[in-house]
């Protein structure tokens, strides 16, 4: 055991892990955080807390993580390298750990171009790979980036994202290997719709034995409507939505589309369970957190294992 992380324990028990996410509110509304987290209680092993997601200002990830920790649930502290330099990031990591937060997800973050502050300076002092390396060095060597010793180093279970669908496709396995080289423990993937392409990627991952070095959680996002499917297909960079998904949703009435979306998500999980190397699921129900329990149940992932 590298850390006290519940997620690490679930992985080590050999069972499929389940995570979901909670976007902090755009204001000082602690009750919103708690409300969303409570919805997921018992259905997931840990809750990702996003960091100024889509480059929009929200309550800080750290603060929201603390709120969740305080009600006894397990947050995953997301950190993007876009907004802070290495001083700020390292101090936040120590701060989080001192509140008992022990699981992190390291990201580079969406470019400010997409958010509500396109005029902001983007920092990118480090990139996501370098952040993974930094957190691992803090944990395993007990040293800051600058080389000084850390008093009571933070023991973080380190996650990162992977997008099997972005271009160049041939680099996607290599970049995962690079993150593993940097010290990542688990991976949450971009939401998967193109099963065949994901399986090709996983095949590449397994061929190189990378599935033995990292826990891969498949990303699942249920579609609320055919409109959402089209938007994801055409507008979201690095997203691969096959036509049949769009067609399938378009094939049912507007009222039935949400249910069809959930049905698709459940089918996807069922199929992905069979894919070697998949160690869990990361269910991102965007502004639709209340449906996560239903998906988890229908996918046969409920109840969650008791880990203490």
């Amino acid at each position: 055991m590298k850390t006290e992380s519940v997620l690490e324990k679930v992985f080590n028990s050999g069972q499929l892990a389940v995570t979901s996410e909670c976007g902090p509110p755009r204001g000082a509304l602690p009750e919103k955080v708690i409300e969303k987290a409570k919805m997921l209680e018992g259905y997931v092993d840990a809750i990702n807390v996003t960091d100024n997601q889509t480059a929009m200002v929200r309550m800080s990830s750290l603060a929201a993580c603390i709120l969740i920790k305080q009600i006894g649930l397990d947050p995953i502290f997301q950190m993007v390298t876009r907004d802070r330099n290495r001083l700020a990031m390292q101090s936040d990591i120590i701060g989080a750990y001192s509140h008992g937060i022990n699981t992190m997800l390291c990201l580079s973050g969406d470019h400010p171009h997409f958010g509500d502050h396109p005029m902001a300076a983007n920092v990118y002092d480090l990139d996501s790979v370098q952040l993974v390396q930094t957190v691992r060095k803090m944990r395993d060597e007990g040293k800051f980036q600058g080389g000084d010793d850390i008093l009571n180093p933070p023991k973080m279970f380190i996650g990162a994202a992977a997008n099997p669908f972005a271009d160049p496709f041939e680099l996607r396995v290599a970049r995962l290997a690079k993150k593993i080289n940097a010290g990542v423990d688990f991976i949450q993937t971009q939401c998967i719709y193109n099963m065949a392409k994901f399986e090709t990627w996983m095949q590449g991952v397994c061929d190189r034995g990378l599935d033995k070095k990292v826990h891969i959680m498949a990303g699942i996002t249920p579609m609320k409507s055919v409109g959402m499917a089209r938007y994801m297909k055409n507008r979201v960079p690095g997203m691969d939505v096959p036509d049949e998904i769009v067609k399938r949703l378009a094939g049912v009435s507007k009222k039935e589309q949400p249910q069809e979306g959930i049905k698709i998500a459940v089918e996807q999980i069922q199929r992905l369970k069979e894919v070697p190397g998949v160690h869990g699921f990361h269910i991102m129900a965007i502004e639709w957190e209340q449906k996560v329990p239903e998906i988890v149940e229908k996918a046969g992932l409920y109840p969650r294992p008791e880990i203490k």
Binding site: S108, D110, H111, Q130, D167, P168, A174, K178, P237
Partner: protein, 221 residues
């Protein structure tokens, strides 16, 4: 080369509004090459300013002069004979030139007519693109001769991020994903195996983060 483009006319017009006698100074170096502030552009701006003010019933006394290089004191010295005939200087040089004129002629207001943009290369006639950020610690040897610091929107040293689509950056279809270019080049050079080496966090001290920089060549001083 340093690239620049002319400021909006409105901003230039407002900056010279209080004055009657303008010394309009071009530069025959980078800004000529990128067609922003050479003799030709000086002539065009002069005529445009004149027309802008004539509509208001005012004629300006504009003297046009293009120096070989506005960032060298010896060339800037050439203005000494005409500077007294001007109420203000409007410079069509890059920021370096504007500052050099301001430094030399301390009691003369100096206004920039250009926005200085970046260090770049000509992709073809009339198209210039950013190539270098002057980070002070060149890594081009590691990235197949293509700079991620200047050309990746996120400055990623371990790219590409998940937004790379069909060789283009997530921020715009018009921007190449530099990591796609780097990867293609690594393949062409047969050094793909180097890709998985983690490029560690960069030391930004050599860049502007370390404070304004200066080169002193003792042997030449």
């Amino acid at each position: 080369m340093i690239t620049a483009e002319r400021k909006p006319m409105e901003e230039i017009i407002e900056s010279v509004r209080p004055y009657n006698r303008i010394l309009l100074v071009g530069c025959n170096e980078c800004v000529t090459v990128c067609a922003a502030g050479g003799r030709k552009e000086v002539g065009i701006l002069s005529s445009a300013l004149q027309m802008a003010f004539m509509q208001e019933g005012k004629t300006l006394d504009i003297k046009e002069l293009t120096l070989e290089r506005q960032c060298d004191p010896e060339y800037v010295e050439e203005l000494v004979t005409v500077i007294d005939q001007a109420d203000a200087v409007l410079s069509m040089a890059c920021g370096c030139g504007v500052q050099e004129v301001a430094r030399r002629y301390k009691d003369k207001p100096v206004y920039p007519a250009l926005n200085t943009l970046f260090m770049g290369a000509a992709e073809r006639q009339g198209v210039w693109a950013e190539r270098c950020q002057g980070c002070g610690d060149c890594i081009l040897g590691l990235t197949g001769g293509i700079c991620p610091v200047a050309r990746c929107s996120k400055r990623l040293l371990n790219g590409p991020c998940g937004g790379s689509t069909a060789g283009k950056c997530e921020i715009s279809q018009d921007v190449d994903c530099v990591w796609q270019l780097i990867w293609d080049r690594m393949k062409a050079l047969g050094i793909e195996n180097r890709y998985e080496e983690v490029m560690t966090a960069k030391d930004w001290r050599t860049s502007r983060d370390g404070g304004p920089r200066k080169i002193i060549r003792e042997d030449l001083v």
